[in-house]
């Protein structure tokens, strides 16, 4: 999974790409929070997620495959 610059500067010592084993977005966030305490609150705070290119503005239980690429993105809204 890939984090934005600010998140990786703050939580992962500048590493933007992290290998995580998780079956859903919820599990992914929990796993990350275990490794990087505090990041879970940031990721749950209204961020969108792109899983294999598809954007989910309000993610929670979306499935993640073993080879999925996941991006956390700023909150998005349309007009």
């Amino acid at each position: 999974m890939v984090l934005t610059n600010w998140l990786n500067q703050r939580f992962t010592d500048g590493e933007p790409e992290i290998e995580v084993s998780a079956g859903t977005v919820r599990q992914l966030i929990a796993e990350l929070d275990g490794r990087f305490p505090g990041i879970g609150a940031e990721l749950e705070g209204g961020m969108a997620v792109a899983i294999d290119g598809e954007i989910f503005p309000d993610p929670f239980l979306e499935p993640i495959r073993a080879d999925s690429e996941v991006f956390f993105l700023p909150p998005l809204e349309g007009g």
């Binding site: 934005t4 600010w6 598809e54 954007i55 503005p57 998005l76 809204e77």
Partner: protein, 755 residues
């Protein structure tokens, strides 16, 4: 998902919209058309100051005025604490919206609501407003986004610290947030580039410009149950917002969707609705509130003005080597500009290895900015597509060929990170190049510009029902306000699944108590999301029709198929029965199990992104600076157009709004921080006589995640126009305009300066 073969009876056709007659005859009920017995008039007192501390508000004289039935201030609504500012995971900060609906402690812009009254007549309401005594401690203000970032700028919020930077700042700032997206190494990319162009641009705040002003009626009964009638882009959102802002349970009120006279993102959020509901609950009477046009301009919308820099480097062969952009967006009085989306969309049409985009969300003493069609994307595209045009010129490349050489395709890693699935970027650019417009000769003082655009498109939650009537007609019920013709699209989808005529189906937009939750009509999601719910609800009906036919024939349901609107035996082995039409089965419903009613509630996923390519011809009057758009062609991937006329309408509307943004529209503030042009006479939106017919080309690269291949269509058409017009002006004059709007005085000055 397998996309159904394109041999449709109703999908892709152009039937008359069910609400069309009412709207062209004036019978349709918009927000201001409603009235109720014993109705009061609600009005709002607004701040004349752009920034001031509210020392005191004395409403006693107003409350004592004969005919005044209720007075309200922020003291009448609960203060929402920081840690309870959000509903679920929605990005809307209700603490901020609470302070926007009725100012608390400070007013932050000219027009900020301070107090409200409800009275037995408009005149008494006006008199009551005049009796409210507000003691303002006027504070220094800041309007311009760059000024607001200065260290010595007046700070709007003492508790606002820039997010997205490390270490966390130790003093408050008007910069609410910094975002950054990077791919590859731009420094190395620029070092390889043969041509590098860097430009700075400015755009002004513009309003969504809907014709219908905000309006609402709220009515509360003795048992505390309330009803609200209002236009909005989502009556479920209005319900959620009113409940949150007033601290009441959702079950205590019901919101009815009035017809909506345009929204474009500006009617997503609450303004009058919670105030009218509050006044109604205080007075026990119906309260009607309608904004004046000046109130609409001063206190609702607009979208961000912005300052941006764009730097792009390319190789001689036309490949983009590196690209950087910095976008600084006005958020208005509270954080929340669409700078994130601007950062993510600007380079999205292109396959670029080295990209860096930085965005800043900045508050200043303007109305809280609101979504506006593809929020953020037109501003980013304006700068980026302008620089791309200049690079194509320097490399002596055709501007569409240049874009095609770099165009994103399936598998391309978007500039904001993820890989694209099936997309139609190349197809739209190719269709634009092949259009007769692109090769048509130009006249004197004319120029041609092109630009591309991208929008994500979103999905969301939807509920729908399809109820079969006893005579074989059907009612489709869903819960999204119909802004762009979705009643027709929903009826077409149901007709396609059921196999009955479009005219046999009546689509209804239900109130919040008559259907399950539905997301807002925004994000280009309604035909996709609500359409999926209607599709599933209609399939539910088909399953029930097969079951009823099986009962009537006394055979297994597996032995019944539904084809072209009739039930048939699946094969000769199932028996020899005459087909049963939907009306035949409906007539027997009472004897075969009761009413036939299909339902679907879902959280849709798989909205496919979309791309657009626009061609614009302008003619420039060198003596006056007036720019006239003489020809315009918009090409767009719709995935599959359910109702092509309404797709074309969305494309034309988006283009016209983009042209207005490019040529004339802007919020103008005086040195006193007050808005100088809050009316359509001084805020110039394009009218029909200003423009040629906007030609449209619908490209269809089906979205693999939808049964018909639908992609959202409502937002991307506003993305390219500002750049397309600017590039056309550069072609006509040789002058590259880097500030919008390109109003006659501004262009004339640039022509005289030669820059």
């Amino acid at each position: 998902m397998d996309i159904e073969a394109p041999s449709y009876k109703w999908v892709g056709t152009r039937p008359v919209r069910p609400d069309g007659i009412d709207k062209v005859t004036g019978r349709a009920m918009f927000g201001a058309d409603f009235s109720l017995p014993d109705m009061l008039t609600g009005k709002i007192l607004r701040s004349p100051h752009p920034h001031a501390r509210l020392v005191s508000i004395d409403v006693s004289k107003a409350a004592a005025l004969r005919g005044v039935k209720a007075v309200a201030t922020a003291a009448d609504i609960p203060e929402i604490p920081v840690d309870n500012a959000f509903v679920g995971d929605a990005p809307t900060n209700f603490r901020h919206w609470s302070s926007n609906v009725l100012a608390r402690e400070k007013v932050l812009y000219d027009g900020h609501a301070v107090a409200a009254v409800a009275a037995t007549s408009p005149a008494i309401a006006d008199a009551a407003l005049a009796l409210i005594e507000v003691d303002y401690e006027v504070l220094p203000h800041v309007i311009d986004v760059k000024d607001a970032m200065r260290d010595d700028a007046p700070v709007l919020h003492d508790d606002l610290f820039t997010a997205g930077v490390e270490p966390k700042p130790d003093k408050p700032s008007n910069v609410a947030k910094r975002v950054e997206f990077t791919l590859g190494n731009t420094e190395a990319g620029f070092a390889e580039a043969d041509v590098v162009v860097e430009r700075a641009f400015r755009t002004k705040a513009v309003h969504q410009g809907y014709i219908e002003p905000h309006a609402v009626i709220a009515n509360t009964a003795e048992d505390g149950q309330s009803q609200v009638w209002c236009p909005s882009q989502g009556h479920f959102m209005i319900r959620a917002a009113c409940a949150k802002l007033l601290g009441i349970e959702i079950s205590q009120f019901r919101v009815f969707p009035a017809e909506i006279g345009g929204g474009f993102g500006g009617k997503i959020n609450p303004y009058l609705e919670p105030v009218a509901l509050l006044l109604s609950r205080k007075s026990g009477r119906p309260v009607k509130m309608v904004m004046t046009r000046a109130e609409v301009f001063r206190a609702t919308g607009p979208t961000s003005g912005a300052a941006l820099t764009v730097k792009i480097g390319a190789l001689k062969d036309g490949r983009i080597a590196a690209a950087e952009a910095t976008l600084t967006f006005e958020a208005g009085a509270f954080p929340g500009s669409p700078v994130g989306a601007g950062c993510m969309t600007g380079f999205a049409p292109y396959d670029i290895t080295n990209v860096k985009i930085v965005g800043y969300d900045v508050v200043s003493n303007r109305p809280k900015c609101c979504a506006y069609r593809a929020p953020g994307a037109p501003i980013a595209a304006y700068g980026i597509e302008s620089v791309l045009d200049e690079i194509a010129q320097r490399l002596d490349l055709d501007p569409i060929d240049f874009r095609l050489k770099n165009a994103a395709k399936e598998g391309t890693k978007a500039a904001y990170g993820p890989q694209f699935g099936k997309i139609g970027c190349i197809e739209t650019l190719t269709a634009a190049k092949d259009h007769p417009h692109y090769g048509a000769p130009l006249g004197p003082n004319q120029g041609r510009g092109v630009a591309a655009g991208f929008w994500f498109n979103f999905a969301g939650q939807a509920s729908a029902a399809v109820n079969v009537n006893e005579d074989g007609t059907a009612i489709v019920t869903y819960g999204n306000p119909d802004i762009g013709g979705t009643r027709a699209s929903m009826a077409q989808i149901a007709a396609e699944v059921l196999g009955i005529d479009y005219d046999k189906i009546r689509p209804i937009v239900a109130d919040t108590s008559s259907i399950g939750f539905n997301d807002i009509t925004a994000g280009s999601k309604t035909t996709f999301t609500a359409g999926l719910a209607v599709h599933e609800a209609a399939k539910d009906v088909v399953g029930q029709l097969r079951e009823r036919a099986a009962k009537m024939w006394d055979i297994s349901v597996d032995a019944v198929v539904w084809e072209n609107g009739v039930a048939r035996p699946a094969s000769s082995n199932a028996g020899d029965f005459d087909p049963l039409a939907l009306a035949d089965i409906a007539a027997m419903a009472g004897k075969t199990g009761g009413p036939i009613s299909g339902h679907a509630s879902l959280a849709a996923t798989g909205a496919g992104p979309t791309f657009a390519a626009h061609i614009c011809d302008v003619e420039v009057d060198q003596d006056t600076g007036r720019i006239t758009v003489v020809r315009y062609t918009a090409v767009q991937d719709a995935g599959r157009a359910i109702h092509p006329s309404y797709v074309e309408g969305q494309m034309q509307g988006g283009v016209v709004q983009g042209i207005g943004w490019a040529l004339n529209e802007e919020y103008i503030y005086g040195s006193d921080g007050r808005l100088q042009n809050p009316g359509f006479l001084d805020y110039r939106i394009p009218v029909a006589s200003d423009l040629p017919m906007i030609d449209t080309v619908i490209v269809e690269v089906p979205n693999p995640n939808h049964p018909y291949g639908v992609r959202g269509v409502g937002e991307v058409p506003i993305v390219p126009p500002m750049a397309a017009v600017t590039n056309a002006v550069a072609s006509a004059t040789g002058v590259r305009m880097t500030e919008l709007p390109m109003s006659p005085p501004r262009l004339l000055a640039a022509l005289e300066n030669g820059s």
